[in-house]
Assembly symmetry: C2
Homo-oligomer: 675 residues x 2
């Protein structure tokens, strides 16, 4: 179908002569209420059930446009059988897209289909005259295009042939090339267009594939006991870059409240000199739009962002919409906070627990419009300072309506902004946040340990109902969570968990240097809080420690960069392995030109081994020839044969293989191999 | 929640303070685009995901109304866990209903939940004052109801208790009965109501449970060779009633075209005296609103409808929207038909096949409004003559938009009208017709023969995505279809197929007397057309033939009437049986007070036997005691024990058991049984 004629499709005009219907459109999130997520350059495959009464032939097309375009572009759909149709288009620009589907009873195609089946000579002559009229109609719609004349000529020849020799008539009528020309100008006056313009967001690539390193700037000082600065952070960047991270995420960098400040290890009262929690935002020096004076100036901040960029690293900031009692908002906008019956401001609480150093915003305030505006402006403020990635603290305690509005407002101006939702809460709340616009979401990975748990959960993430909008970001630890497996599992657990995060999820991150330095002591038994947590005090880290996992993580992140298979989750498939303390899975590119098989020993204390069963057919591997498995962690090569192969992993060396699969093309090379 | 306060729920008003969301509402057909189907008196179970930010307590309610009511009624929802909520309401009137869901953050419930968990005494006193304010708010909303005073008193007492002894304060604050009163008057100013008013149709019971007998009135004459009349049909009614049918469906009763009339066995040209096909509607005597003169007068028709009613039988008419060439419409409204290029009217065709005795309506005519109006008036005309059930011939060759409009128009005035769609076409077309309003639908049952085919198909019908709108009506034969199994399977096949239809589907029908008289010869080998089909000629049937299945069918239909389990499909579950030429399944009432297990030998030629595996737990049967299986076809009783039991069926006697399951309560009766 021609591009120009698509503009003639009547959208939403009711007419009793409209016979085609379109239903069951995919992809679609909640019937088009929320956007499908893709990354720029993706080929978006759209399908629908399209049909009409009777036996006429249909024409169907996907209409699509970037929201900044006025005109729809059009992709003709192909039938898949059983009234299912498909087309795809490339989302070639970042930002918001819309698509819908139009279908129509195609008189010309129906005529041609019937004509080819006619046997009665008199009928053929009558039908030829109908066909000539249809072709003349197409010619008219072709207007001043080059097709007009040739279609007029065809209509004329067909009319003449109608009176002539019957085989010649058939040839003229069923000319395939001319039919294609006519089909470029279908009669769309009774086309039906699905009334929903389905939204789609094309994010930049880092929305789908990113590698995060979280660290506390105030612990970045090379001198123990001195408060770290943004300049110290610049000095740390080469270390982070060598490990292969492409996002550094800083906890809040704002002034820290003094009122009711928490002490070390979350003590109710701070001692003199205690630095407080960066999440207790706001003090006399300012609030969410200020920098903590001890970290440096805005010039230092700009330098840090620029230095990171030179290393190929982006800076992500924390958006924690809450206030310390001495945050300027509290006095400037007291109506944004809830009052207790005694007139004091309501602190955060979850009875019987109280968080008296934190004042939550009241999303039921009558002054919500002004509050929303101010809170969104916080994000825009930091965008103005070069930040395009935000990790949002506890988004599930702010209203859904606010986030949907705020993210849309930011994206309208800055579609390259990435929002990561830190919400470890009820699954439907996490999904709602992802639907309403968060680019990425924290997951329950942190607490999924057994093969059964990991298989079930990552199958759901990759292939479940959320796969069109929920992009997981897997974290083996955070400043809030030192999971039990890391407390008791030793080095083997640290290695296994980071391999799982990095290979199961295209987005992952970790909180360092605690992670690579194997920090594993909890505040008290049964707690998931770190002992001497950086949330409440400065720490000094010896980055050069010989037992550091920095080198291991660097190799792992190189594997992610070099293997496209690890850069999305859609292809994830788990492989059977006959030892339940091991897990195996494959990821691959659509063309199968990159396949990575990961096998992890989930027992951090002992060696485990088992037979992995490869799905040779799905992975395009030969059943009758050996293929090479190159473990990029240990840089070892194995020759595998057939479906079942033996793997043995000792956590004292490495609890995992991350193996690039290579089909071997040259026989002579095979031969060399065995010598 | 109180009924009156529900009217205060703000529907569709956007406010930033609205925090609750509602999603994933069930039941819903295409997100509320089409109606869910139920029968009057059904308890409609509605569920949704309801949640809000944070940890506050929610209130949720289903709002529902019959479309003729202005006010919504309200059913408070209960949480099922994982943010899923449920309520039900009884659709106590026939016709169109709407329902939606409202959810709100419930300040009073949240307060009470927190209060119960507080330990700090000072906090309890402050919280008591907040609670008193919330209760006072509820009192205000209670206005002039009896609750107002008692809530005011409670608020007052709570304020006083805030200063008193702490255990007494707790008692006053957490009073359960008073909390229930307060919860009747929630603060709904920030409630969120799902914007879709989900449509539901409550049909009368016969929409779900009906037993159809189709016969040709013109063959009803007791004298061979004489054209049957409606008076002859009256005389046939006792015979039909004895067999237990509650719907008699007559092929078109209108004047039959003379132009291009088809002869016996579909001969291209009729011989003098040939009666033609009743589906070639319209002649000089009139069209769709006339009676074929040889059948009788409108007075005869009224008498026939009244006589049927006395037998508990309803009359169903055929709506075949097409014309014989001499139908009055053709000359009165030539614009309703498509023209060929030679100016003649386009007859029905599917090249190279031609149906020159039939002119289809052109649903793309510019005069579609007048045509739709006239065609809908045909249905209304027969409603005026006492008909409320219509079997619609080939609805899939008329436009979807027409049917949706016409059925809605008829239902608005006559919500008790039942439409059965005769569409054996592509599955998605059949589903669309069911969605847009057809009450019942023909199925592919006619061609589903093996256990695998039947199991897969009826599982889909009972539990698949269409179960909320697609009501199957299973036919083992029709005047158009003599399936192969009946051509070759003999009496055993006729018995098995009618048992399958009658027990797998709560709606079923057959075309008689051809069926009970075992008519099995095709027009030619490989054809599914009957030899000497009544579609083209009169037939005379000897209803008293000793080999007639009339008695067998009567017993079967009595079993359907006496066993509620057979009157719907929702409970259908297939039971394993270790012989693939047999099939077994159970149906039960929700309370399990009626359970019917059917076992059919699908091999019409030989006896088969096997072990049936009962799902004892699901059917509420004891694992350790015998239970009685009463085969109501043969009136035989079997004592079964445990899950696995032996069944042997000989098609020469009966190819099926239809067994009512009876738990035996009295031990002494058991004892008798073995003596």
């Amino acid at each position: 179908m021609n591009q120009r004629v698509a503009q003639l499709i009547p959208i939403g005009v009711p007419d009793g002569r409209v016979r085609a219907v379109v239903e069951a459109v995919t992809p679609a999130v909640d019937g088009g209420r929320f956007a499908v997520k893709r990354i720029v350059g993706d080929s978006v495959v759209v399908e629908a059930d399209c049909h009409a009464d009777g036996h006429d032939e249909l024409g169907c097309a996907v209409l699509y446009r970037h929201t900044s375009d006025v005109d729809w572009r059009v992709a003709p759909m192909q039938p898949l059988g059983n009234d299912r149709w498909r087309a795809s288009f490339v989302a070639d620009r970042i930002g918001a897209w819309r698509y819908t589907i139009s279908a129509w009873v195609d008189a010309f195609r129906s005529w041609r289909h019937d004509f080819a089946r006619r046997t009665d000579e008199a009928d053929l002559r009558v039908a030829a005259r109908s066909g000539a009229a249809l072709i003349a109609g197409a010619a008219q719609r072709a207007r001043d295009s080059g097709d007009r004349q040739s279609l007029e000529r065809w209509a004329h020849e067909l009319l003449q042939a109608a009176a002539g020799e019957i085989d010649a008539l058939r040839r003229v009528a069923l000319d395939a090339a001319r039919a294609e020309t006519a089909q470029r100008w279908p009669d769309l006056q009774h086309a039906w267009t699905h009334p929903v313009e389905f939204p789609l967001v094309a994010d930049r690539v880092r929305a789908q594939f990113s590698t995060w390193y979280e660290f506390f700037p105030r612990s970045a000082s090379p001198e123990p006991g001195r408060h770290g600065t943004l300049r110290d952070c610049v000095a740390m960047l080469p270390y982070v870059a060598r490990m292969g991270f492409d996002v550094v995420y800083l906890p809040p960098v704002h002034p820290i409240g003094r009122e009711r400040r928490k002490g070390r290890n979350n003590a109710l009262a701070a001692e003199p000199g205690d630095v407080g929690s960066p999440w207790a935002i706001g003090a006399a020096e300012g609030g969410h739009k200020a920098l903590h004076p001890e970290l440096g100036t805005f010039a230092d901040f700009r330098d840090f962002v620029a230095a990171a960029a030179r290393h190929g690293i982006e800076v992500a900031l924390d958006i924690a919409l809450q206030c310390a009692p001495d945050h300027p908002y509290v006095t400037e906008h007291p109506q944004w906070f809830r009052k207790r019956a005694d007139g004091s401001i309501q602190y955060a609480e979850n009875p019987p627990k109280k968080y008296q150093d934190i004042y939550p915003f009241d999303f039921e305030t009558a002054d919500w419009r002004a509050m929303w505006d101010e809170l969104a402006s916080v994000i825009e403020f930091w965008i103005g300072h070069g930040v395009r990635i935000f990790r949002v603290d506890n988004p599930h305690t702010k209203s859904f309506a606010f986030w949907e509005w705020a993210i849309a407002r930011v994206h309208a101006q800055h579609p390259d902004t990435i929002f990561l939702a830190e919400a470890f809460t009820r699954p439907k709340v996490m999904h709602r946040l992802a639907k309403l616009g968060f680019t990425q979401s924290y997951t329950y990975f942190t607490w999924r340990n057994t093969r059964h748990e990991l298989t079930e959960y990552f199958t759901e993430l990759a292939h479940g109902p959320g796969h069109d909008y929920f992009r997981p970001n897997a974290w083996p630890n955070t400043p809030d969570i030192l999971p039990e497996v890391l407390q008791v599992g030793g080095r083997g657990a640290f290695m296994a968990r980071v391999v799982l995060a990095a290979t199961l999820s295209a987005n992952y991150g970790l909180y360092g240097p605690a992670y690579e330095l194997l920090e594993h002591l909890p505040r008290e038994p049964g707690s998931e809080e770190y002992l001497h947590s950086e949330k409440y005090q400065l720490r000094h880290w010896d980055l050069a420690r010989p037992d550091s996992l920095a080198g291991f993580i660097a190799v792992l992140n190189i594997a992610r960069r070099e293997n496209a298979a690890l850069q999305s989750n859609a292809s994830l498939r788990f492989l059977p392995i006959d030892n339940e303390r091991m897990i195996a899975y494959a990821k691959s590119t659509p063309a199968l030109d990159n396949i990575v098989v990961t096998v992890v020993n989930l027992n951090p204390h002992h060696g485990e081994s088992g037979w992995v069963e490869m799905d040779l057919q799905a992975l395009g591997l030969p059943a009758d020839e050996p293929y090479e498995m190159h473990d990029v962690l240990g840089d070892q090569r194995y020759l595998w044969n057939g479906a079942r192969n033996w793997v043995s992993l000792d956590p004292r060396r490495s609890p995992a293989h991350v193996m690039v699969v290579r089909r071997r093309l040259r026989r002579e090379h095979d031969f060399d191999y065995f010598h």
